[in-house]
């Protein structure tokens, strides 16, 4: 972003990679897949690179409002400096916090989740998916809480997946009834409290009941949890966990 800005260029979108996209080995692949799609579609975008910093979501949800606000105000400064108007996120937590919480601190940008953007491009005919690649794969989708219940985004991921496969299946608990993967609210970063079971195992069982070939996710935390669940159940050979962006990249052979 800094380079482009220095040259007087203003990309249309800021692609917010997020901490998981930058540092999580598995999720880096999602960030790469999504970038390839954007490039393929000739979307004008840039990333902040080293200037990006945590949105403050885990801090806020763990009760550290002070730290969250410091992060948020810094990020908002940065957005203002680079005159950012539109932000695309791949992480639902980043999406939620930018869209719903930053405005309280003066950060007002148009915030778009990548599933919304991709779905829009599909509607406009700009993004044409090749349904032959994944055609016969049975795919199920796990709703991330921060896209679904938190922001009512249920249809876009489904419409993308349904154009990737003819064999899309719903879990019993889906959409607003979906079970959390267990990682939100900063749980990702700590041991779960004592119980009889880990949430991610319960959720993986939901997914396994649909007998899928692929479990699609749309959130870095959900991805970690579902991948762990598959390992725990010794299913990681037969069943794969992909992010929606990766599935699109596969279908486009990017």
């Amino acid at each position: 972003m800094a380079d482009l800005f220095g040259r007087g260029e203003k990309p249309e979108y800021l692609f917010w990679v997020g901490c998981a996209g930058a540092y999580d080995d598995r999720y880096k692949k999602v960030a790469r897949a999504f970038t390839k799609i954007l490039t393929h579609l000739n979307v004008s975008f840039a990333v902040l690179g080293k200037e990006e910093s945590c949105t403050g979501d885990p801090a806020r949800r763990a009760g550290n409002e002070m730290l969250y606000q410091m992060q948020a105000l810094q990020n908002i400064e940065l957005f203002k400096m680079y005159e950012v108007k539109k932000i695309i996120t791949i992480c639902p937590h980043c999406f939620n916090i930018f869209k719903n919480e930053y405005p309280d601190l003066g950060g007002n940008c148009e915030v778009i989740s990548y599933v919304q953007l991709l779905d829009k491009f599909m509607d406009e005919g700009k993004l044409k998916l090749d349904a032959s690649k994944l055609k016969n794969n049975r795919i199920t989708y796990h709703d991330p809480c921060y896209l679904g219940r938190s922001n009512d985004i249920y249809d876009e991921p489904r419409s993308i997946l349904k154009s990737l496969t003819t064999n899309y299946v719903e879990m019993d608990r889906n959409k607003s009834f979906a079970l959390c993967c267990g990682a939100g609210g900063a749980q990702m970063f700590k041991e779960a409290e004592k119980g009889n079971k880990e949430v991610f195992i319960e959720r993986t069982e939901d997914a396994l009941k649909t007998n899928p070939k692929i479990i699609a996710t749309a959130c870095p935390f959900c991805m970690t949890m579902m991948t762990d669940g598959l390992k725990y159940k010794n299913k990681e050979e037969e069943i794969k966990n992909y992010d929606i962006a990766e599935l699109i990249a596969i279908s486009l052979e990017l």
Partner: protein
């Protein structure tokens, strides 16, 4: 005339007791903190029509939801009849609303049918509660008294409906016997009166009076019991839905007092924006009942203890200590305990207990994933996660206590701008050798 006087006295007692209770409750509200400003009346009206009158969230469980919706809609219709009874009782009139004509017939007819439907639904509810083991109705927060409370209220409703039907059918028989015109239409009671035919005019009149008094006195009694029971939701749920948080579920409210501090830290020139010296120092987050917002407290009074929230909570499902219903019920219980003392002794009163720890443990609070399943499920739009997070805010900002891993996350975010301990220099490694217009 005697009847009117007796009625007026009964009504006065009812209203007096009710006013006393409500004023008490209002005095507790005065102890709470502010929440969001109530605006967007149009939108609120829409939510109320949809969620309260349309019972949309109740229908998330379709079968039992349908029965509840019948009870709710029936109550709304029957309420008009009760208002008529109050006017009749006070002024010695008889079926005073009959001038409404066709509308009156419709109201009376549907009230009559609803009375039967409600009675049946209540029997199903009672049967479920007494004989079936429903997981949703159990939990550590559900004491014997909670079950007793539910069963008593259900029984009263049952008797309310039976007395209404009795009253209607006695009215029908009596009016038929004396050859008068029947005001209103009573499909069910007409049928019932046929069963009990062969009575004299005197006995039908006595019957009518007995049921009339029974019905109205039960209403008076019920109204005064409600505020002390989970069935307070009969009054509170519609207003609670009207006062719903209108923001997306994922949004946490901003702490403006923290914003002031942070801005001060980042730019001392904004010091003038801080409140004048001498302003009381606000506590960060929620430690005790009076730190909660009026909306949290309203929620807690409106809660029906239905357990729908807890039944979808991933933490609870997997055997963790957290139950969102308990959090809400605890707030109500703690306010009941401490509220009167605060009102009496001033806001500095302390009994060396608090909502946090004495009622809600840290373990419960740290189990929440903020998934919002509870808030989505609650039929009256109660929002649990905001209260849970507010308590975490107290723990973290006032006490500096958090699970060790989270403390590490805090310092990573502070030092590296990420929850993990990686250098911000490495932020672009993911994009290495990608061919694209990323800069």
């Amino acid at each position: 005339m005697i009847k009117q006087i007796v009625f007026a006295i009964a009504l006065l007692i009812t209203l007096g007791a009710f006013t006393f209770t409500i004023l008490r409750i209002i005095s507790f509200f005065k102890l709470t903190k502010k929440a969001f400003p109530v605006r967007d009346f149009g939108k609120r009206f829409g939510v109320m029509m949809e969620v309260a009158f349309g019972q949309t969230k109740i229908f998330r469980r379709p079968v039992i939801g349908f029965l509840h919706a019948l009870v709710f809609w029936g109550f709304c219709v029957i309420l008009i009849g009760s208002i008529e009874m109050v006017i009749d009782g006070l002024f010695g009139t008889d079926k005073v609303l009959k001038f409404l004509g066709l509308f009156y017939d419709i109201i009376m007819a549907s009230g009559d049918v609803f009375a039967l439907l409600i009675a049946i639904s209540i029997l199903v509810f009672l049967f479920r509660r007494v004989f079936l083991h429903i997981k949703r109705f159990e939990g550590i927060e559900m004491k014997k008294i909670s079950h007793l409370d539910a069963n008593i209220a259900l029984s009263i409703i049952l008797f309310l409906m039976l007395s209404l039907l009795g009253m209607n059918s006695a009215y029908y028989s009596h009016t038929t016997l004396v050859g008068g015109t029947i005001e209103g239409v009573y499909p069910v009671s007409k049928f019932l009166s046929a069963i009990f035919s062969g009575l004299t005019t005197d006995s039908t009149l006595v019957q009518y009076e007995i049921f009339w008094w029974m019905h109205i006195l039960l209403i008076f009694l019920f109204a005064n019991m409600l505020p002390y029971s989970k069935h307070f939701h009969v009054f509170m749920s519609v207003p609670n839905v009207f006062l719903s948080r209108l923001e997306p579920l994922g949004k946490l409210p901003n702490m403006d007092n923290v914003t002031r501090e942070v801005k001060l830290m980042m730019d001392p020139n904004t010091a003038f924006a801080t409140p004048a010296a001498g302003a009381p120092i606000e506590r960060f987050g929620v430690k005790d009942a009076e730190d909660a917002s009026w909306k949290n407290y309203f929620d807690s009074l409106a809660c029906t203890e239905c357990g729908r929230c807890t039944s979808v909570c991933p933490a609870n499902i997997t055997g963790k200590k957290l139950s969102p219903r308990k959090v809400i019920m605890d707030l109500r219980a703690r306010m009941k305990e401490k509220g009167p003392m605060l009102v009496k002794n001033g806001k500095d009163y302390t009994d060396n207990k608090s909502l946090l720890r004495d009622y809600i443990s840290e373990e419960e609070l740290w189990a929440c994933t903020t998934c919002n399943a509870c808030a989505k499920e609650c039929p009256i739009n109660i929002n649990h996660p905001t209260l849970i997070i507010d308590m975490r805010r107290y723990l973290v900002m006032e006490e500096g206590s958090a699970p060790g891993e989270l403390k590490a996350v805090f310092s990573n975010i502070e030092n590296n701008g990420a929850p993990w301990q990686y250098s911000s220099e490495d932020r672009l490694l993911w994009a290495a050798d990608l061919e694209m217009n990323v800069k």
